[in-house]
């Protein structure tokens, strides 16, 4: 895929922006691609439907905003409802199965879900939900190299939490791999 547009949405505080940052960093620093990230600011980044956008490309990126996301990761119902229409009935939707109930419209959207909050809680900290989701995203899409993603997770989370976050990443990744079997 020459150019992929990605949107991550959720509540402000769920790590929406950090998630996009990690994918962008993995792509541009550890996977030899170009990645431009833009994000919500203001009140929406602090509690309501927050969104981060990412363009990943093999070539230099000019226009910095996404027009129609190929991939959307939804971690809250409000975020899903606010941005679902931008997909225009196509692409990949990845969502938190306990927090998002997608509509049953007959579109060409491929849907994948994971109870990432529950998995994070079982690992001991709900806050790593977004990293579980990143592991799941990596397995579902194959867009970014697995090791590049792990490297980006390791170098982006607070010091001392690397091991826990990598465990979260693995759990998300394995969740999809097991499903496939």
């Amino acid at each position: 895929m020459a150019k992929t547009e990605l949107r991550i949405t959720g509540f402000g505080g769920q790590g929406v922006i950090l998630s996009a940052y990690i994918i962008g960093k993995a792509a541009s620093i550890f996977d030899n691609k170009y990645a431009t990230m833009t994000q919500s600011f203001g009140p929406e980044a602090r509690g309501s439907a927050c969104s981060a956008q990412l363009i990943i490309s093999e070539e230099k990126i000019l226009y910095p905003y996404i027009i129609k996301p190929n991939i959307m990761i939804a971690m809250s119902q409000e975020g899903y409802e606010k941005y679902e229409a931008t997909m225009k009935g196509e692409g990949i939707l990845i969502y938190e199965s306990n927090l998002v109930k997608p509509g049953k419209n007959r579109t060409k959207i491929k849907k994948y879900c994971i109870p990432s909050t529950k998995i994070a809680e079982d690992l001991g900290r709900r806050i790593i939900q977004n990293i579980v989701m990143l592991g799941f995203f990596t397995a579902v899409t194959g867009l970014i190299d697995y090791n590049a993603m792990k490297e980006a997770v390791k170098t982006s989370v607070p010091r001392g939490t690397e091991e826990l976050n990598l465990k979260a990443f693995e759990s998300g990744y394995e969740y999809f791999k097991k499903q496939k079997k």
Partner: protein
């Protein structure tokens, strides 16, 4: 002179434009920062406040932007490379002391992460509406230098350049980012310190008895001293002679103000940085800067696919304006198309330099977003008629 390795985070980073600007400043040797937080520039200040303790810098959150600008002028005369950062109304508040900086020929850097105005306008959204204010915002006649980066990488590279130009020409120099570039995150490669060229301050070698603080060298720039070095200097915003003493008459005014203007204009070719693409056979040239130049590139691709011979001129330095080059090009092309996220500002300079030889078309955008590439493409088509 090479950069001090202590301030250079060599390596590949994933940074937004604001953070990249902060890293550029630190790499350039900035060790004094005074500012007042304002969206969307706050991240520059945040990054500097987090990094300064490790490089021996002084960070002050001031009471407002007037104080911030005054503080960096004082710090420069105290021997530091100094910077402030702001946006929107904060830029307006800095104007009086930017004039003081121009009059006292104080090297300093002002980063303005532009948001939509007027007034408080669009705090979190993009604008390019401070282009004329950057040049004309303070009262009186003077010249400044302004640079408009279009990516986080350029925010790093050209903040260093801004410090260097500011030292070389002893003039307040502005890094005119915009909200889009400031809040956009991309790969930024920071080279090793030994690959970063730094312009040292132009300190005098003359003795205190021989030294005159405002006696210009051949390139019209006087040499500096710093407080505490044993030189008796008088620095004033009043019209002053070579000794720095206030002389209120038209003769001294003519010598001083003419030099403040000339020192930039005479050296313009050394300062100006532009990027030209497929200018040779172009019938229309798109002149753009900052984030708009990236959007315009898409429009140019659309036009070329349509068989239109369109060239691109991107202004990296916006002030001084590349007057000579635009005048030359005006004789070769049918028209200039100038997209800006404002109601028309730099377009007046293009129009002036076109001297009626080429038509000039503005593609305005009132702020809050970037152009739709189609709008610029449509204007290119209109310009071809």
């Amino acid at each position: 002179m090479k950069a001090d390795p202590i301030g250079v985070l060599t390596g590949s980073h994933y940074l937004d434009g604001d953070h990249a600007c902060a890293e550029g400043a630190i790499a350039a040797g900035c060790r004094f920062f005074a500012g007042y937080p304002i969206t969307p520039s706050t991240e520059v200040a945040e990054r500097i406040s987090a990094r300064f303790p490790y490089v021996g810098g002084i960070f002050i959150q001031m009471e407002d932007e007037l104080g911030s600008m005054a503080a960096i002028l004082g710090a420069a005369w105290g021997g530091k490379k100094a910077m402030t950062v702001t946006s929107g109304p904060g830029f307006s508040l800095m104007m009086e002391n930017i004039g003081l900086g121009a009059m006292t020929e104080t090297p300093c850097v002002i980063a303005n992460v532009q948001r939509g105005g007027p007034s408080t306008g669009l705090p979190t959204l993009v604008g390019q509406q401070d282009i004329m204010q950057a040049r004309w915002g303070s009262h009186g006649d003077y010249e400044i230098i302004a640079i408009a980066p279009d990516s986080p990488q350029e925010a790093f590279d050209f903040t260093i350049k801004a410090f260097n130009l500011s030292e070389k020409y002893r003039v307040p120099t502005m890094v005119m980012l915009d909200e889009c570039v400031g809040h956009m995150t991309e790969r930024v490669i920071i080279p090793p310190a030994e690959e970063i060229e730094i312009e040292p301050r132009r300190y005098t070698k003359l003795s205190p008895e021989e030294y005159l603080p405002y006696k210009p060298c051949e390139d019209l720039i006087p040499e500096m001293v710093k407080a505490g070095d044993g030189y008796n200097v008088h620095i004033t915003g009043l019209t002053h002679n070579e000794k720095g003493y206030p002389i209120i008459n038209e003769e001294v005014q003519a010598v001083l103000v003419k030099r403040l203007v000339d020192k930039i204009n005479v050296n313009a070719e050394d300062i100006i940085i532009t990027e030209e693409e497929e200018i040779e056979n172009a019938e229309v040239i798109v002149i753009s800067y900052g984030i708009t130049s990236r959007v315009a590139r898409m429009s140019i691709d659309l036009a070329r696919k349509d068989g239109i011979k369109v060239g691109s001129m991107r202004l990296i330095t916006i002030w001084p304006f590349p007057e000579k080059r635009v005048k030359e090009l005006a004789k070769k092309v049918k028209a200039f198309v100038v997209p800006e996220i404002n109601a028309g500002q730099l377009v007046y300079e293009v129009e002036r330099c076109a001297c009626g030889n080429a038509n000039t078309y503005l593609v305005p955008h009132y702020g809050g977003g970037v152009h739709n590439p189609q709008d610029i493409f449509d204007k290119i088509k209109e310009a071809m008629k």
